[in-house]
């Protein structure tokens, strides 16, 4: 080949190309680190999949809708008790719950909030054919009465102290809007909330704008944008580049790196999902209390938190996490003591150890596979020989799995656990589910009594009593709650919550 000489024409075209490139480059370089004072952009792994506000039962999605619509009551995590939102006061009267609504609250369409709106919304929540997934919360309610504009009475089949827990995320829509829009009601969600609904794009954006006439005082942020981004790497990239101001589920291994970032901050809060190992007592050897206790002695939850989750987690001391209603600060978990475990196994008739299978659903929970591998290794020291079996979630959770009572021993998480009753009733009360097949009439009695008790202090005492029995009986192996880890633009201030809700009115920009 000869000498490389660039022709005049080539020179000109290349120069032109360069020029065009240089001219367009600024368009590519968008404003970094947005965090405008008026707008917060949230990239979240879980945003409403449907514009139907009752077509889900998931905590982060309750948070989305709570911008627009409000519940009668909600749990105050600091007080560990319920506080009124739309309800001013409430009373527990045998098999009735009576609520008085606050006066003068207006919907976004200007209509006054009345008891009719509450009855209307509950009817919509009970409408399974219409797509609601929240109907089970009202299965014990026989009637909703509205004697006057500000009074709502729920009549239940039996006294039901736990009803407040079920009412927590039941949001109220405007009946006037319902009458006006008919079938199109859900395209025009009108509530009383601090934000008004602007738009919803499936799998894309959910946008809210501030309700300047909000009865509880104006929010600081004018516009809140949620975008569903399921890919961890994409959420991180968006945060680092300033495309997002706030992201959830930062992976543990990225925490240290992001903490050094000059524009960002990592916020951690103890989550409400509790992880544990459940025994199914219909299977041998788990029907034997000594074996269950041995298993408890042979699992070292603090070591798992420290080594697998880089210490970002909270081992349970007792059957529920410290933030849960009904937790007992006096209870202690079984210490890690493999020698003691071996002794107990021998006592139980397994001097040569015992073969067990541990089921889990790989990929469902953070690092579940690693956790189960470590549990298996720990249990071997306590005299168990563990076979690990992973199943796809749909199979694991279904009638052939956990819910059919088909798995003898499994690793699982229970989300949104705010009240110990939820766990005790679901896992340890005779006949509620087949998940553990545990039956103890004495414990059933305490749970039942607690569910009928309106006095919160007395109810907590009963729950603590139940917790003590559960620990003594070693009905499961409580492990830990993990931290919910958020990545936040440094100039954004927000009130952290343990329930995975991200609320625009709890935010402001410094």
């Amino acid at each position: 080949m000869g000498k490389r000489v660039i022709s005049r024409r080539q020179f000109l075209t290349r120069t032109a190309a360069l020029g065009v490139g240089a001219a367009t480059a600024p368009f590519f370089l968008r404003n970094g680190y947005a965090a405008s004072r008026d707008r917060v952009t949230i990239y979240h792994s879980s945003v409403a999949d449907s514009i139907h506000p009752y077509n889900h039962s998931s905590s982060p999605i309750y948070g989305d809708w709570q911008h627009v619509m409000e519940p009668l009551i909600e749990l105050d995590y600091n007080k560990k008790d319920y506080v009124g939102v739309l309800a001013d006061s409430w009373q527990f009267q045998g098999n009735k719950w009576l609520f008085k609504l606050k006066k003068g609250i207006k919907f976004h369409n200007g209509a006054q909030l009345t008891s009719k709106d509450v009855a209307f919304s509950i009817e919509k929540m009970r409408d399974e054919k219409g797509g609601s997934l929240q109907a089970p919360n009202f299965k014990d309610v026989t009637e909703v009465q509205t004697p006057d504009d500000l009074t709502v009475i729920f009549v239940t089949k039996q006294p039901l102290a736990i009803f407040l827990d079920r009412l927590e995320n039941r949001f109220i829509l405007s009946k006037v809007a319902g009458d006006k829009y008919g079938d199109k009601l859900y395209d025009n969600p009108i509530g009383t909330g601090p934000y008004k609904f602007v738009s919803y794009q499936r799998g894309g954006n959910m946008v809210f704008t501030r309700n300047d006439e909000y009865w509880g005082g104006k929010a600081a942020i004018k516009e809140v944008i949620f975008r569903k981004v399921t890919e961890d790497a994409a959420r991180l990239a968006a945060l680092e580049s300033g495309q997002a101001d706030f992201i959830n589920n930062v992976p543990d291994h990225e925490v240290a790196r992001l903490q050094k970032h000059p524009r960002l901050r990592i916020d951690k809060v103890e989550g409400l999902r509790m992880f544990f190992l459940a025994f199914n007592m219909a299977f041998k050897p788990w029907d034997n209390k000594l074996v269950r206790q041995a298993a408890n002695y042979s699992v070292d939850a603090p070591a798992i938190v420290k080594n697998i989750f880089d210490g970002i987690g909270y081992p349970c001391n007792g059957p529920v996490g410290a933030n849960v209603i009904g937790a007992d600060p006096k209870l202690k978990r079984y210490p890690y003591d493999p020698q003691k475990a071996k002794q107990l196994l021998t006592q139980a008739g397994f001097p040569n150890g015992c073969d067990i299978q541990l089921y889990y659903s790989a990929g469902r929970y953070p690092k579940d596979k690693e956790v189960c591998q470590v549990v298996a290794a720990q249990m071997v020291k306590g005299g168990f020989r563990v076979e690990l079996i992973s199943q796809e979630w749909a199979l694991f959770w279904d009638k052939q799995g956990v819910n059919g009572g088909k798995l003898p021993f499994y690793y699982i998480g229970r989300g949104s656990l705010t009240d110990a009753d939820t766990l005790y009733d679901q896992y340890f009360r005779t006949g509620t589910t087949k998940r553990t097949n545990y039956s103890n009439p004495e414990l059933d009695k305490i749970i039942e009594e607690q569910q009928k008790t309106s006095d919160q202090k007395r109810r907590v005492a009963l729950l603590q009593q139940a917790g003590k029995t559960i620990m003594e009986e070693a009905t499961f192996i409580p492990l830990y709650n993990l931290a919910d880890i958020y990545g936040v633009a440094r100039n954004l201030i927000w009130k952290m919550r343990p329930d995975e809700k991200v609320l625009g009115w709890d935010m402001k920009i410094k």
């Binding site: 370089l29 797509g131 799998g203 981004v229 890919e231 819910n403 509620t432």
Partner: protein
């Protein structure tokens, strides 16, 4: 009756067979949409009641017949997960996937054909070896990995391109075809065009890269083969200019192989879109399919897979038609 209509009629039993197979497989597969959707709080009684409400406790054959008779009238039912008509969900999302697939195809053609042809003409040169190495890397890279790397560097570190979605919030595109790029040009909305383009670049490159790698190699070998044909020697002997030989004699004849491969790969492009769309939160049918399968949303999954089948059929048909246009000797 001509070949075209015969093929269309022939597709009907195939589609029926596919629909029955998917229906059966979905229902045989363990996992129940109701217990998945109701979540932690539901008791077995709640689950049974909801199953009954939704008609999922009826015999399979009754459910299938119900599906078929409704489908004939264009009613594919409601999605269990999204609680909206399946046709609405699919029609909202299909244009996004088509746009992505088309953009990926363009990326592949623009990279692969010139590179392949050039490598062939200058074969055994440095550029040829470099090009083939890049192609080898391209075909070996997993889609999702490339996507995540692009997100990390072009999105996270350089902030050149948006990491998720299809268009910037606040920019509206008046829908004509559903393809944002086309619609925004048609309506003269250049802000929307620019935003949609920015959102499309990384996913299209991710999806197109593997295809580009294959097409580069195929174009190269196809051109090499044609170059050795007698008619090329004849053309050169006639004293035609090199560019005429390349464009009119070599390329035209090499094209038929390239088109076949492109057509066959369009199917792969659609299945590749499932992963790419998930990584980039791109609201197309691939992303929808993943969600519907993990929720065991029978009706939605059924329709989506049927649609994939129809697309394969249409693409193959188009490739056949294209043959006879490129090479008039082929007749139907």
């Amino acid at each position: 009756m001509n070949k075209l209509s015969r093929r269309i009629i022939g597709a009907i039993p195939v589609l029926l067979g596919i629909s029955f197979l998917i229906f059966l497989l979905m229902h045989i597969a363990p996992g129940d949409p109701v217990s998945l959707l109701l979540g932690d709080d539901a008791t077995p009684a709640d689950i049974e009641r909801t199953r009954h409400e939704w008609g999922l406790d009826r015999p399979l054959i009754v459910q299938y017949w119900d599906f078929l008779t409704r489908a004939v009238t264009g009613d594919f039912g409601k999605s269990l997960k999204f609680n909206e008509p399946v046709t609405k969900l699919v029609s909202e999302r299909l244009p996004a996937t088509l746009e992505l697939a088309f953009a990926a195809l363009c990326v592949a053609i623009m990279i692969a054909v010139p590179l392949g042809v050039y490598s062939a003409i200058r074969h055994n040169s440095l550029l040829d070896h470099a090009g083939m190495s890049v192609a080898l890397i391209g075909v070996s890279l997993p889609n999702f990995w490339l996507g995540i790397m692009l997100i990390y560097f072009l999105g996270g570190q350089l902030n050149w391109l948006p990491v998720a979605g299809r268009i910037e919030y606040g920019i509206e595109v008046r829908s004509i075809t559903g393809l944002y790029l086309l619609d925004s040009v048609l309506t003269g909305n250049y802000a929307a065009f620019w935003s949609a383009l920015q959102h499309l670049l990384m996913p299209a490159f991710t999806l197109g890269s593997a295809l580009a790698a294959i097409v580069t190699r195929i174009s190269r070998s196809s051109v090499l083969e044609v170059m050795r044909q007698d008619y090329v020697t004849t053309a050169r002997a006639k004293g035609l200019s090199e560019s005429t030989v390349i464009w009119r004699h070599i390329l035209r004849n090499a094209l038929i192989t390239i088109v076949t491969i492109l057509g066959l790969q369009l199917g792969a492009l659609l299945s590749g879109s499932v992963i790419t769309e998930t990584v980039f939160s791109f609201p197309g049918i691939g992303d929808l399919l993943i969600q519907s399968i993990s929720a065991r949303d029978y009706k939605l999954t059924q329709v989506l897979i049927l649609m994939f089948a129809v697309t394969y059929f249409v693409v193959n048909l188009l490739v056949d038609l294209l043959y006879s246009w490129i090479d008039p000797r082929i007749r139907f």
